[in-house]
């Protein structure tokens, strides 16, 4: 099977400071993979490179075998079926919940399909239907995360990038978010997740990468990674 997304020898830096250096990873259609790492390991930078929001200094990002994402603009990348649940939700706080959802499929010419998917989201998240015409900024953290996930799904993506979906949420909501990720993945949407909550993420992921200061230090099936010492080392410091 050809990989849906294949990153090779990716390097990015902020000014002179390297953020990611020589990262290679891949995800196949329908898989759920997670990149684990502490703050500042370079997880969000990888996500931004895939989205075209940050240009790589080196390396390739192949999508669907034929598209070189590093040469495309963000809106072109979105059109290929890549959607994003950003770190900290990043909703449009001055827009209503409904407008946030509509903006999720801004490019789509198939208005009927968009309306159908928004309706599906309202069925899946009845709370959002109640909040439909409220400003997104007035919602609770958990509700905002629902909007962020729904916004990413209304375009009908093939690959979902989830950047720290558990960040800043109450523990009970965190469990819901990971269960939801599993559910979305079961619908056939591939997910590349970036997380610090290793225990929860490894429960739902198929495979995991451990990222430390811009390098991948270990990788493997999620259940194996969960048993290795390397995962502790990544979060507690010290050699893996």
């Amino acid at each position: 099977m050809t990989a849906l997304l294949e990153i090779e020898d990716l390097a990015l830096s902020y000014g002179a400071v390297p953020a990611v250096d020589g990262v290679s990873l891949a995800i196949e259609p329908g898989e759920l993979r997670v990149i684990l790492g502490a703050n500042g390991a370079g997880k969000t930078t990888i996500i931004k490179a895939i989205l075209g929001l940050k240009r790589p200094r080196r390396g390739t990002i192949r999508y669907d075998g034929e598209h070189d994402l590093a040469a495309l603009k963000p809106h072109q990348i979105h059109a290929l079926g890549i959607a994003w649940v950003p770190e900290g939700r990043q909703l449009w706080h001055t827009m209503t919940v409904f407008d946030n959802l509509r903006m999720g499929a801004f490019q789509s010419k198939d208005h009927a399909a968009v309306a159908r998917r928004i309706e599906e989201m309202f069925v899946r998240f009845p709370r959002l239907r109640e909040r439909r015409d409220q400003l997104a900024g007035s919602l609770s953290g958990g509700e905002q995360q629902m909007v962020a996930i729904a916004r990413a799904l209304v375009s009908g993506p093939r690959l979902l990038l989830m950047d720290e979906p558990s960040l800043g949420l109450a523990p009970i909501v965190v469990r819901d978010v990971f269960a939801l990720a599993r559910e979305i993945n079961d619908m056939g949407i591939a997910i590349l997740m970036v997380e610090q909550n290793a225990r929860q993420a490894l429960k739902v992921a198929d495979a995991a990468y451990l990222l430390e200061t811009g390098h991948i230090v270990d990788q493997g099936p999620a259940d194996e990674i969960a048993r290795r010492d390397s995962v502790k080392a990544v979060f507690l410091g010290g050699a893996a």
Binding site: G52, K73, H75, H78, F106, S155
Partner: protein
């Protein structure tokens, strides 16, 4: 009492024009993160485009002048976006500020080279007629200016609130990266925003030329400074806020002119605006984070 009402109406007329120019600044600043110092000079070029067209086809008057003002300013806005603002957008805010300031200087002095540095007479587009409305008396030109400005302000409101492009512009204003990642062609929306604001400024400029009966290569300085200050005082987040402050400024000016002296009006207006900024540095109605 009659003087008070009269001056409030006079202030409303000119304040509505400040509002149109100020919204151009606000759109450029909130959507593109650009301090668009050439915007008032695009307004000025619109004024002269209308003048040339009205002199060329004297019979058609106001309509052809407005069309030419809109076209001239819109085309210049497009050119400015393609050559200066677009390529520099996304860099340090000072970079675009210097770029647009440079364009502003070129436009002002280029026009002064063409038409001379002194004000030139504007063709008569609206008959000089006085109209009594209860206790106040307005000229037909004032009423036309107020009507046109109101129409332009409604257009901005409709654009921002109800069109797909306007929704995208708001999305960029609040979170440019997220908008791009969700399929908004940011460069294109920025282009449309600048052309839209420029076109409206062109229409307002023709109306102002007709109102005062003169046009000058340096008219942008006056309107630019006031409109820019209005945007800062109101904040760039709510267009109604910008409009309210601009009209308030026009009314303060008119009241000072009526009760004190016209030479004091600019000083008085700016004292009030600076006082507001002192208390609310982010503007009265809030601004987008930059």
């Amino acid at each position: 009492m009659d003087l008070l009402l009269q001056q409030i109406c006079n202030g409303l007329v000119i304040g509505s024009t400040y509002a149109v120019v100020a919204l151009g600044f606000a759109l450029a600043f909130s959507v593109l993160r650009v301090v668009h110092f050439a915007h008032p000079d695009i307004f000025m070029v619109g004024m002269f485009s209308g003048l040339v067209a009205a002199n060329y086809w004297p019979g058609l008057g106001l309509i052809i002048a407005i069309a030419a003002g809109a076209a001239g300013a819109g085309a210049l806005g497009y050119f400015a976006e393609r050559t200066i603002i677009g390529p520099l957008r996304g860099r340090d805010i000072l970079t675009t500020l210097i770029g647009t300031l440079g364009l502003s200087i070129v436009l002002q002095n280029g026009m002064a080279l063409l038409v001379g540095p002194d004000p030139v007479a504007y063709p008569t587009l609206v008959p000089a007629r006085f109209i009594d409305i209860g206790p106040v008396m307005l000229t037909l030109r004032q009423i036309v200016n107020l009507g046109l400005s109101a129409l332009l302000l409604v257009l901005v409101s409709v654009f921002v609130r109800f069109t797909r492009t306007g929704r995208a512009a708001r999305a960029i204003a609040e979170r440019p990266d997220v908008a791009a990642a969700f399929g908004v062609d940011v460069a294109r929306i920025c282009q449309i925003t600048i052309v839209f604001a420029s076109t409206l400024a062109g229409v307002a400029a023709v109306s102002v030329g007709s109102l005062y009966g003169s046009a000058s290569a340096f008219v942008g300085l006056l309107y630019g400074l006031k409109a820019f200050t209005c945007m800062l005082v109101a904040g760039n987040r709510h267009i109604e806020g910008v409009v309210a402050v601009a009209i308030g400024l026009g009314i303060i000016e008119a009241l000072v002119t009526g009760y004190v002296s016209s030479s004091m009006k600019d000083a008085a207006a700016f004292v009030v605006l600076i006082a507001v900024l002192y208390v609310r540095p982010n503007g009265m109605f809030g601004s987008y984070a930059t």
